[in-house]
Symmetry: C2
Subunit: 377 residues, 2 copies
């Protein structure tokens, strides 16, 4: 019969394993740091998908041969890779030295700072032009080879129009979440090369590897190639899209989702149950959904209202469509019309087609991770 | 200047580290297996929160002293703990031998199978009573000390009413996602002890540790204590709730969220953009939201329509409220009424109050994990 001493001894064994793990991580960090330095010198991209795939495959195989769950090994290795990318980005290769000096207009905002820091890590000379440097704009912009505008969407037009004239060889870039109108403004103001980017991430990413950036052609697209190469060196995944197509897709996903989430948050706030009560009896999936709703309200009411208003003209029709779909669903439910519900369900199912299985696997894995991280009260 | 040989050599060093990691995991597995055996013998719960917290704190401290990111260490340790729980649940302690034999009505369904397997791991004698055993129901139920009903919500009443009479000391349990009506049915049919459970997880969990189970009192609650202790031995977190309060909370979270997700899926299906197009330019947060919508449509149209119809009577008013909130938001947008939007935003923000910061941190960490797992096309 086992006793408490056995348990203590076994737990000491676990602690020893875990201490070895920490030592192993320290050693791995030092090696990935050296690899980072080589990547910086040779200009190799931070993200090496082939090496990543080979590394994972080899260790999965080894796991199987040692009776260890390969999923466990892959999950841990992927987490270690994040750490490596994070450490390696302290000093990054420069892919287009001819784009220096760079000016970030709105460089004191969160996204502006993120880009400024990243360009600096790649050795670019970066100047900030924000409200407090306004009086010195001409001086700051003199000789700039790349000007990136990183301001809220509803300020973009006035900010761009008030810029001093840029050199004709300067690449003018914006990073707002809308692309048609901003690109038109940029092209109206500037005679030289123009490109529109939409980084599909916020200022709080831990590294740039595998982050998606949508690229919309503006003018003299060949001049933008240096910038795009730089993004790829940082590990970004580029998606080239027509500005119109991009804006439509954003309206469907981003704007509509924002608005329905906003409505859902208001709806919850009207209920007599507190958030704590609802959370206490939420499954992981609803915890996740509450989290998605709740995070929206971390933003500033003013900033958020401005964004909604700026986007409204373009999505009025979509909102009406959503409202109709909602009303029709209610009718079917009221009428107890099971056949109609099933056919509506089947239509949406067809749209998601093969992806439902993928989404299930993916969300299952993510929910497992959410449960791992759960801290009980 | 570094060259390609240096890189190869460094990568060999990484491979060596990672091979050591696999060996370490094998060793850790063998120790946690032994700990599991002791827990089974002593009846100790699978989840030891104090030990877990102490282990994490000690290794975080060690990480800091060795210049390793403590978050990295904690993430990896939590993932290893999941593995340990998964391995340790192969054989579990029995907390209430007097509840054996157990009959699972609907034991061929996914949730029924999950419970049957878990009871068996704890040494209970488990019998299945599903459609194919119907002719033998009396025989199967004879002498049962615990009968758990695990059937779809709209079948519950007829299934329970058609059961042969149970012994008066038998504990009758249901696990549907609604609690008031099922408990009333159980109490009408059976004279003995009754308890309602709502497991806040699906059949695809990798282990039971930290999973929430809502417990609603039925009759002779002291008899249910053995079952509740058993759930705690498995690591579950129990939330005792009044059945009415539970049902209201479920209507707000689960039912409403299902219906709005259903509407959103139909809305997406009507758009001219394919899912692949939308996904190509989605940020991680929208990937996550698309995943939440898409996973719903992995279900059977018939089963899902039945669920919606069964729930509709109770949520008709909530749906109307949601619809109103949606219409009011549209009005504010149409009128360009920024003040009204800001005040609506502020109200919802107040509801989420301090949790917004928590939700932000939590979702950031989850999005990082989603990015780790990203496989580029």
């Amino acid at each position: 019969m086992a006793d408490i001493n056995d348990l203590d001894q076994l737990r000491a064994g676990i602690d020893e394993c875990d201490a070895q793990l920490v030592a192993l991580l320290a050693k791995r960090n030092s090696i990935t740091g050296q690899i980072g330095a080589i990547k910086q010198q040779t200009g190799a991209p931070l993200h090496a998908p082939d090496r990543e795939a080979a590394l994972l495959a080899a260790r999965r195989e080894e796991a199987i041969s040692q009776g260890v769950n390969p999923e466990l090994v892959e999950d841990i290795l992927r987490r270690m890779m994040r750490e490596a990318y994070q450490n390696q980005q302290a000093k990054l290769a420069c892919a287009a030295a001819n784009l220096s000096p760079i000016v970030i207009v709105g460089g004191e905002g969160a996204m502006g700072q993120l880009f400024a820091k990243q360009f600096q890590r790649s050795g670019y000379e970066v100047k900030i032009l924000d409200k407090s440097q306004q009086h010195n704009a001409t001086e700051i912009l003199r000789g700039a080879k790349l000007v990136m505008v990183s301001v809220p969407i509803n300020a973009l037009e006035s900010v761009v129009k008030s810029l001093p004239k840029l050199d004709d060889d300067c690449l003018l870039v914006d990073i707002t979440s809308v692309k048609q109108a901003p690109l038109a403004v940029l092209k109206a103001v500037h005679n030289g090369p123009v490109v529109g980017l939409h980084p599909m991430f916020g200022p709080d990413i831990s590294h740039w590897v595998k982050q998606t950036v949508v690229v919309c052609e503006g003018r003299d697209h060949h001049v933008a190639q240096g910038l795009l190469q730089q993004l790829q060196v940082w590990g970004c995944q580029l998606v080239e899209l027509d500005a119109k197509k991009h804006d439509e897709a954003m309206q469907i996903i981003q704007v509509m989702r924002h608005l329905t989430t906003f409505v859902y948050g208001q709806f919850l706030a009207k209920q007599s149950h507190t958030l704590a009560e609802l959370r206490s009896c939420s499954s992981p999936i609803y915890q996740l959904e509450l989290m998605m709703v709740g995070r929206l309200f971390a933003q500033s009411p003013e900033l958020y209202s401005d964004i909604m208003l700026a986007q409204f003209d373009n999505v009025e029709e979509l909102l009406a469509q959503y409202q109709d779909t909602f009303a029709q669903t209610l009718e079917k439910l009221k009428a107890g019309d099971k056949d109609a519900l099933m056919s509506a369900f089947a239509q949406a199912k067809a749209y998601f087609s093969d992806s439902t299985a993928h989404f299930l696997t993916q969300s299952r894995s993510l929910l497992n991770k959410a449960n791992d991280a759960k801290v009980l009260d």
